[in-house]
């Protein structure tokens, strides 16, 4: 599903060039839950954004469902993101002025479908957000916010979920709930690439790799 082949990404920093990804290669297939662990600043988020067709690598090749997103024009790349990828972030990144229901529905604006409203209702129910459906994010607990973000990531039935420290701001119970949902998604045939420094991720992942200074350490 997702393949990284010798991906390198450098940034210009105040003290010269910084290598965020250094010839990184790995792959994630449907039904796989890959956890990438490592300390802060090791390049985990850069890896995730590169995988999400949001950050063009300096070298190497990314393949999403057999297609390199970076050879597509921006319009096609947006379409690919809308149809294939679901993002979950540590800060949730919910749209502050939309209700829970509207936040979950938001991806349907990028990829309209007749079933979106029905699908959103199902997700609201399955994530236990019925009584919060018409609340805005500021009125939710952190656990409810992350569940909303996860439900939003699942609206367009993506082939892969890219999760950046999704449990970083959650207590243990809420973190377990999130992991349970991700497990279920994987067992339904999806694949997950999760970057985290949370040691509990290993218990849910089908595969865990360690990252350090931009390199994957198996």
């Amino acid at each position: 599903m997702l393949k990284f082949k010798n991906i390198t990404k450098n940034f210009d920093g105040p003290e010269g060039k910084v290598t965020a990804l250094n010839e990184v290669s790995f792959s994630v297939s449907p039904g796989e839950f890959l956890a990438v662990r490592g300390p802060s600043g090791c390049g985990k988020t850069t890896l995730l954004l590169t995988a999400g067709a949001l950050l063009r690598p300096g070298a190497g090749q990314v393949s999403l469902d057999g297609q390199d997103p970076y050879v597509l024009n921006p319009e096609m790349r947006s379409r690919m993101r809308a149809s294939m990828i679901g993002f979950v972030f540590q800060q949730f990144h919910l749209i502050p002025y939309l209700t829970v229901r509207q936040n979950i529905m938001a991806p349907s604006l990028a990829l309209p479908s007749k079933e979106a409203a029905q699908r959103a209702r199902e997700l609201v129910s399955s994530f236990g957000l019925d009584d919060r459906a018409d609340h805005i994010p500021a009125q939710l607990s952190t656990g409810q916010r992350q569940r909303t973000a996860l439900a939003r990531a699942l609206l367009n039935k993506p082939k892969i979920i890219l999760a950046d420290e999704p449990t970083g701001n959650l207590d243990e119970d809420n973190a377990d709930i999130v992991f349970d949902y991700l497990d279920k998604y994987v067992s339904d045939g999806g694949c997950v690439l999760l970057v985290t420094h949370d040691v509990r991720a290993a218990a849910h992942a089908t595969k865990t790799v360690q990252m350090s200074q931009g390199r994957i350490i198996e």
Partner: protein, 431 residues
């Protein structure tokens, strides 16, 4: 959910920013509308002032014209037909003509078909010594008017003096202690006093009138006269007719000349003509003064309004930049969800379009009210109330409703471009 739901929710969520944006548009459009409205108030007042002045002038001129007509009518003797040989200077020096022409001229001219003169009065005048009374008087022989046969008959303006009677001017009957009915002898012939005139303050006070035929006998001028007074020539009050009448009379009576009589009336008419010209000039001066005032205000508005509009455009632009910065992560996540650039652009530019339309709509009414107040204050004429409804016209409405959204969309364009070009990865990497 539709994208405009998102748009409306965002505007409601950031209502303060939305309200400030609208306020900026209201200020910009309000100043534009106020400037145009105050100019319109000025134009309306100018029109009212000039119309009132013109009406007042017309009324005054109508009164003057009527007075002139009446004055001309009262004078009655407007033209004097004299023998061609008569020296006019000599006439004025002596006070009566010294040359003679046939009495038959009166009949000729009366039957000639000239339509611009109603009556002709033949006279024979001479300054004589009244030996019986030891006075120097002007003796006038007159037989009454010969009507113009081409005109409808009218009451004669001057009654003839009956034979064997005499009419005396004020100075004569007063100084001689004479009354109507007394008998007097003039040049050896006895006359009964037919009428004694009231004081006229002119040569008439020392004039005696007798019948023409008897005057001709007494002065030994049988069949002769020395002047024909043409009456009611200028009754229509048109000075331009004088030349025409003179020309026609001189054609009918080639051995005569025609001079004006009653120059006071003509002088008065000329004076009133001058007054009329001055009144028109005053209106024109007022018009020029108003045009200069308008020009000054136009200049002021032409400088101030663009400045305000540019300031407001910058203000809206800064608000838009602020909005883009505040929504950096939101834009990032929208891009991550697959939102296309044109959708992001729609979300931003639609907002500025709505701000422009809404602010423009409020700005019109604020500007109309302020412009009306400003216009009335500048005019210093609160009596002339201009209804705000008169000031709103479809052209202004259209101008504002196009200008306001264009202003806001232009102001928001650059921040929108920044928004769609910003790197979503950069926004999402910030924790």
């Amino acid at each position: 959910m539709k994208i405009w739901h998102m748009l409306v929710r965002e505007m409601l969520h950031r209502w303060r920013s939305f309200a400030i944006g609208n306020f900026a548009v209201i200020v910009a459009i309000g100043s534009l509308t106020a400037a145009l409205t105050s100019l319109k108030v000025h134009d309306i007042h100018t029109h009212k002032i000039l119309t009132a002045k013109e009406e007042e002038t017309e009324k005054k001129m109508a009164i003057l014209k009527d007075e002139m007509r009446k004055a001309t009518l009262k004078l009655k003797f407007n033209l004097l037909i004299l023998p061609k040989k008569q020296n006019i200077r000599d006439l004025h020096m002596k006070g009566y003509p010294s040359e003679y022409m046939p009495e038959e001229y009166v009949t000729r001219v009366a039957n000639s078909g000239i339509i611009l003169v109603r009556h002709f009065l033949p006279t024979l005048q001479q300054r004589i010594k009244w030996p019986e009374k030891k006075r120097t008087i002007t003796l006038v022989g007159t037989r009454g008017e010969t009507p113009n046969l081409q005109k409808s008959p009218r009451e004669p303006l001057v009654q003839p003096v009956p034979l064997e009677t005499i009419v005396l001017g004020y100075g004569l009957h007063q100084s001689l202690g004479l009354e109507v009915g007394d008998n007097v002898t003039l040049l050896g012939r006895e006359f009964t006093i037919h009428k004694c005139y009231e004081e006229r303050g002119s040569e008439d006070d020392f004039t005696a009138w007798i019948h023409l035929s008897q005057a001709q006998e007494l002065l030994d001028k049988k069949g002769l006269i020395n002047a024909i007074l043409a009456l009611e020539c200028l009754c229509q009050g048109a000075e331009g007719l004088l030349g025409e009448i003179r020309k026609k009379i001189e054609q009918i009576l080639p051995n005569t000349q025609v001079i004006e009589q009653g120059t006071k009336a003509l002088a008065r008419a000329e004076a009133r003509g001058t007054v009329a010209l001055e009144a028109k000039a005053a209106v024109e001066r007022e018009r020029q003064h108003r045009a200069e005032m308008r020009s000054e205000r136009e200049f002021f508005a032409a400088v101030l309004v663009p400045l305000i509009m540019v300031a407001c455009a910058v203000w809206i632009g800064l608000l838009a930049f602020n909005n883009v910065c505040a929504r950096k992560t939101e834009i990032g996540i929208q891009r991550a969800m697959g939102f296309r650039a044109r959708q992001i652009m729609f979300l931003f530019l639609s907002k500025y379009l709505i701000i422009g339309l809404l602010g423009g709509l409020f700005g019109i009414f604020v500007g109309l009210g302020f412009g009306r107040w400003l216009g009335l204050t500048l005019e210093e004429n609160t009596k002339v109330i201009t209804v705000a409804g008169d000031l709103l016209n479809p052209g202004l409405f259209l101008l504002v409703m196009v200008t306001a959204p264009v202003l806001t969309v232009i102001s928001g364009w650059l921040p929108t471009v920044v928004a769609i070009r910003q790197d979503p990865a950069e926004a999402l990497r910030e924790k």
